[in-house]
């Protein structure tokens, strides 16, 4: 229906909406005053591991974590 409508600059650069929105949120969190800022930092923590599967076997996973082991 809509032929290439004018895209926002971040989409033209290859960024998805979720990436854009999360980036805006983390920038706002970094501008908070002290007690709120430390609470906000916990909201940004991420812990996951991704492993690609080849020939039915998982390869070595890449682990991305902010929690200290």
């Amino acid at each position: 229906m809509s032929s290439s409508a004018a895209q926002p600059f971040w989409r033209a650069a290859g960024m998805t909406y979720i990436t854009y929105s999360n980036l805006c949120a983390s920038l706002v969190r970094q501008c908070l005053k002290e007690p709120y800022r430390s609470e906000a930092v916990s909201r940004e923590k991420v812990h996951f591991n991704v492993s690609k599967w080849v020939d039915g076997k998982p390869e070595k996973p890449t682990i991305r974590t902010d929690t200290p082991e």
Partner: protein, 203 residues
């Protein structure tokens, strides 16, 4: 033959189950136009089986536009980790849409608006509460319910002006030194967010 058997069982049922049956028929939601076409073509192909329900039969119907404009707007402001406002009755909200500040009054036409980083102001009588939203969406429904979703929403007094100024200067610097499209986009986003924060603090 077995089919007829179950039907006669049903007819033989007593008055109690008749009441039960009546309750069922009122529980069924009205089928939408797509459903009736599907049901008709199903019956043509396969008159012996009951047509399966389609997803729209399970959905709640869209809230109807009430005949009189309600006097208050019901606002829900939700974040991924908290519902800041939950069915709060207010007079007006002003949302920072990408197309500009948009005021929503009770009786507003159903709208979906993408939000840019900016201030959401909630007006209730003479009180105005302001929240800085990081970005998100605002859905206004025909029954004067407004759902505003954002990832971060803070009252303006929790923002630190020094950090905002510093951030703005940093990202302006980054925009000058950026080379790839992604870096430029990130720097531009940084500038947009920090200018909005700045405007929120000084405005």
């Amino acid at each position: 033959m077995l089919r007829h058997g179950s039907r006669s069982l049903f007819n033989r049922a007593s008055a109690t189950s008749m009441r039960w049956r009546r309750q069922f028929s009122t529980d069924l939601p009205a089928e939408t136009a797509e459903d009736t076409k599907f049901v008709e073509s199903w019956k043509k192909m396969n008159p012996n089986m009951d047509p399966p329900k389609t997803p729209s039969a399970y959905m709640k119907p869209r809230p109807p536009t009430p005949a009189n404009i309600p006097s208050k707007l019901t606002v829900n402001l939700v974040l991924p980790y908290d519902s800041v406002l939950s069915s709060k009755e207010v007079d007006m909200v002003i949302v920072p849409a990408t197309t500009g500040q948009m005021g929503v009054l009770p009786g507003h036409v159903a709208t979906i608006a993408e939000l840019k980083p900016g201030i959401l102001s909630v007006h209730e009588g003479n009180d105005v509460t302001k929240y800085f939203l990081s970005s998100g969406f605002a859905f206004v429904h025909a029954n004067s319910v407004a759902d505003i979703i954002a990832i971060e929403a803070t009252p303006v007094d929790r923002l630190d002006p020094n950090l905002v100024q510093k951030g703005l200067a940093d990202f302006q610097q980054k925009l000058n030194t950026a080379s790839t499209d992604v870096e430029k986009a990130e720097a531009q986003i940084g500038i947009d967010v920090h200018s909005a924060l700045n405007a929120a603090l000084t405005g």
